[in-house]
């Protein structure tokens, strides 16, 4: 638990923001998958700082090293250990951060849980913890691709700027620094972010992930439903405050006659006329596009003075120095994709034992 995710395909992440390194161990990866560091680096580069003027100035190249688990360019079935050295870990003056609880951060709760905390850059509650997830997600995505399953993830909204369905252009996602599926909306969002930075403020947004090619029947009924497992995966990402599938919160306001997706036959296959369900029925994939959305809160590190308390129980005013991302949504897009991919590979492996005939195919 805690720092391990998954049952059959398991990732264990470790490392603090200003410790020596950050890393992950992936256990349960099937043997025979072609894999090298470039496959993983491509994912890490999507979340690393310095991609745009809306990200922290921290200098990190986030280069990954594979320490185990591959041989002659293929996975061997043994644990894959991934190491990313922290570069920007120089000793520094953490000032009042060390003794003051930052609002919206985990400083207070960490101290309550463990009796004290590693205050350097947020320690393990830093966004840098997600590096390990993304490294693991790269491997999971690689497996999915081999099975014909594709993930498309993007910023659906940044602050008040949202991309409506009719403007959705997936080919534009990688054409703008905000990973929005509309270059025009991305330009509007960038202007909004500039204004927020001027106000010493921050904003949130919405990330959406769509999965195509997923066979029907993936996810375990009852407690390990596909959507339940994905919900845990997505809400385990620091700033996420809500998760939705298909129509999500809107489903609560629909009539049954609107909300049910009628089945029909097309070229010998069962299809659905609509996809209010977002590709999941009874906790299992239904063969249609899986759709999930995560609501991300605004970055809590803002430069405005904030009221708070010290570790010694005194009211105080805090001013957070240094430059912080005014929005984390763009860099979190690949984190949502990674957690989704990790969950899907795990559930695909779990599902292999669902039928006696599957066992007989292998034994």
């Amino acid at each position: 638990m805690s720092s391990t995710f998954g049952d059959r395909f398991r990732i264990t992440t470790w490392g603090e923001s200003h410790g020596a390194a950050i890393g992950a161990v992936i256990d349960g990866c099937p043997a025979g998958l072609s894999l090298d560091e470039a496959d993983i680096q491509a994912f890490l580069d999507r979340r690393k700082p310095g991609q745009s003027r809306f990200t922290t100035k921290r200098q990190e190249s986030d280069r990954v090293e594979i320490l185990s688990g591959t041989f002659e360019g293929r996975t061997t079935g043994t644990p894959i250990s991934l190491l990313i050295r922290n570069q920007d870990q120089r000793s520094r003056d953490y000032g009042n951060i060390a003794s003051v609880y930052r609002p919206g951060h985990a400083d207070y709760t960490y101290t309550q849980k463990y009796g004290f905390r590693d205050y350097r850059g947020g320690g393990r509650s830093s966004g840098r913890e997600t590096i390990g997830r993304v490294a693991g997600g790269a491997i999971a995505s690689h497996i999915l691709k081999e099975l014909g399953i594709e993930l498309t993830t993007f910023a659906k909204a940044i602050g008040p700027v949202e991309v409506p369905e009719e403007e959705y252009r997936p080919e534009e996602i990688f054409q703008n620094k905000l990973y929005m599926p509309s270059n025009q909306r991305a330009a509007e969002a960038a202007a909004f972010l500039e204004s927020m930075m001027k106000n010493l403020d921050s904003c949130g947004g919405v990330i959406e992930c769509r999965v195509t090619g997923l066979p029907a029947g993936i996810g375990e009924p009852v407690f390990d439903k596909l959507d339940a497992c994905l919900a845990k995966a997505i809400l385990s990402i620091g700033a996420v405050k809500a998760v939705e599938f298909g129509d999500g919160v809107e489903a609560a306001r629909r009539d049954g006659s609107q909300n049910n997706d009628p089945f029909f036959m097309e070229n010998g296959s069962v299809r659905k006329k609509t996809n209010h369900a977002g590709g999941v029925l009874g906790g299992m994939s239904d063969g249609d596009t899986l759709i999930l959305r995560a609501a991300v809160k605004p970055t809590p590190s803002i430069a405005q003075p904030q009221q708070t308390v010290t570790e010694n129980g005194e009211d105080t005013e805090l001013v957070i120095h240094g430059r912080h991302d005014p929005v984390i949504v763009p860099r979190a897009v690949v984190v949502v994709e990674s957690m989704t991919a990790l969950t899907l590979v795990d559930l695909l492996l779990l599902n292999m034992g669902s039928r006696m005939e599957h066992l007989k195919k292998i034994y």
Copy 2:
């Protein structure tokens, strides 16, 4: 996995809608908790059919029998086995249900996963599966109460009728059959449900749960965050399509300066001026009220003719007979409370090993 939930406090549910019985085994319950069948029955009665005119006519008393795990009125630390016999399991004609996939149901996905399905009353995908969860939730709630932790759960919205915060009256929740914290809104919702029934249609709604008395620091950082674990628990309930914490989806539209909850001291304790976070920071409880909401889709079983396909791959029209709940929200309130309670007890047990000083208190 699958039919087991929890790591230290584990519930395993079993049973189909029209099988011989439904049940649950709770393992990991601490010894020395006073417990009898009446404690559990009180919870089961909150979800059983026949409480109002908005529920199925199925005749079930849902009487629980404790088969193991208690001795002289106290839990012994061994597994608690709970049995609820199904009464309404007479052989019947399942008609076209047996060979047709009902829209919005799990018929198709079960068949894709396992190769065939128990079609009698939905088998294990029936709402009756939640009986075991509620029985376990009763025990979990009993433990929480011993530790001074209280849960308040209610229907926040039914269809378009919502109880705004300023009308919230928790004392009225048990005064109306819809478990709304406002008798007046409940009357409006009842009128709306009557109209839906006339239209042979159904509706959804929103369930909210608030937890007070939870100590700070509960929940495991990284993957087993308090909100992540709760999200899985809540989304494992059949008809839930979204889950939110605190301001939830609204947080995505807030500025950081609005969304951060300032800390202050009050009577020597750390408090928050606001609770946009919903009582969770960095995946751990912050000592404030924990607030979660589940969006519930409309009941998929509606009496209108629906387009669908047969198991043999032919387009067809389906009419579902029998009376079904036009909304499942009221009966699902106690299910949300149960899953929340199960999750909290599990995380409280997990947290016991967080500090060396805790070990020294016991050993």
Copy 3:
């Protein structure tokens, strides 16, 4: 944990010796296995009391009822709940047992762990707890048989009477009440048991299990080795004090040149000239016969007066009344077989994800 065994094929047992019932829930059973109560009853009958004059007189028919998880004679993939009502649970005078710690039993340790204990017939530490294991083992054996894997389990030794390899006759195992693979040795053992009963004493013995047809490569390297998982399974049976694989403790006294099993080719297959390893190399099956042995201690319930202490911390002398098995080995044979079968099915399911090519066979 605790009362759940297995990772993919999971059994949860519950119930106390003198409670209302004993049972088990099996979760993770692949769909499509033909299964009825007779399959399970046949296994239960091998451990039930009253088979010979060397077993307790307790009257129990141990009839199993399948409450869920099958439909039209096949498993559905959902949890299989098995119920066995206790018949001999009449209220009785437990006398000094209630307040005295029986030597060699778990009375003292249960009390130390939980603060008190269910003293009726040993509660959950009774041998009756194994009923649930055997019921689950019947299902696991059924799966193994479908895959061409066969288990042969027997009493290799009872007290000083041992069946040497050259007298091993598997066809005689079911011909004597002690389940020894030699009717002649069984007769000697029976005579020995008569003498022990006259002396108000008890004895131990050795159980051996051999598995043929197991494909090579089953078991997970490192911590979940085939032999490691089996060792846990076997030592979780109450009275077992040691477990061995292949030459076992004798391997410690061998030279490497004797102990290594040379490989050779036979009809295009890799074979071993000897099987000192007992069918496991590096924690994985090697395609040869898997051989394990369990050393079982003498029944601790003996009719001789024994020195012990009371719950109140006073020295006392205890005489245990009632008739107890002078040896538990014969009835434990099927328990060893069941735990072995449960472990093997679990590891076969786990192994399905070991290669990318396996995933491509199914997806």
Copy 4:
């Protein structure tokens, strides 16, 4: 599973014999334990090569680096990542090892499981995999020491040379290079090893571990018994073929009247007159010394020519070059101690939730 051990105190090991590095991640360590690299290095030095003339000449300093999880000399409750770089990983000619299955090794079974294998130095089946276990065991032992629990582990037998109980001198264990509790027997064993090396042969032996200070009631009844969990831990070590508790295999030949350990009172405490049970009753510690023994097979790498087969299915003769330990028992002593310590800490954490009164002490 697989490369993760433990439920609450979890260790994940990774790394191959001739890969870049070997390591471990320990998750679930309570916060506030003082810990530095020297604590861990002391354990690693007990297993590293080059301690005596009976070990491989491979040059490895096995220096550990702590990459995360500590702050200002104390554990923080977050994962502790440990890294040990391999020094002797130069490219080399693996000769026929690459295409031939060594008898007594895992070459064949790895290939059967995964389709191919990393043949360099045995890959992950190498004894170097235990480095991660020992590093984790050092931390676990540190926790146990804080709670007053001490482990004493030693070579009880090497080949035919055994230390009888009456010659047991624990103070001599660290005085000889074979870690035997008798310098005189160690000298005999060394002479025996010289003769084996002359014969190009190897031998096995027995390792014993004794634990004092363990409170009664540790271990979970039924499947996660103290002895069952330890058995799995010990048998997960490469060359172990049997595990025993207390009298072990001898218990099978005892009478009940001999084997039962009578209880008596001493200074207000419950004690046992004898300890045939080895400190475990009903799967829980009984407050007496815990005693376990592991039977270790002879090193399979011997310099004599051996018959075997190639990957292409041809009979061949193999001569293994290079110097190998003629016995692995001395270096495996600390591995047995480490696995025991890891198991005990895990079970101590699990036991914290056994009573409601424990929860009330912390919450």
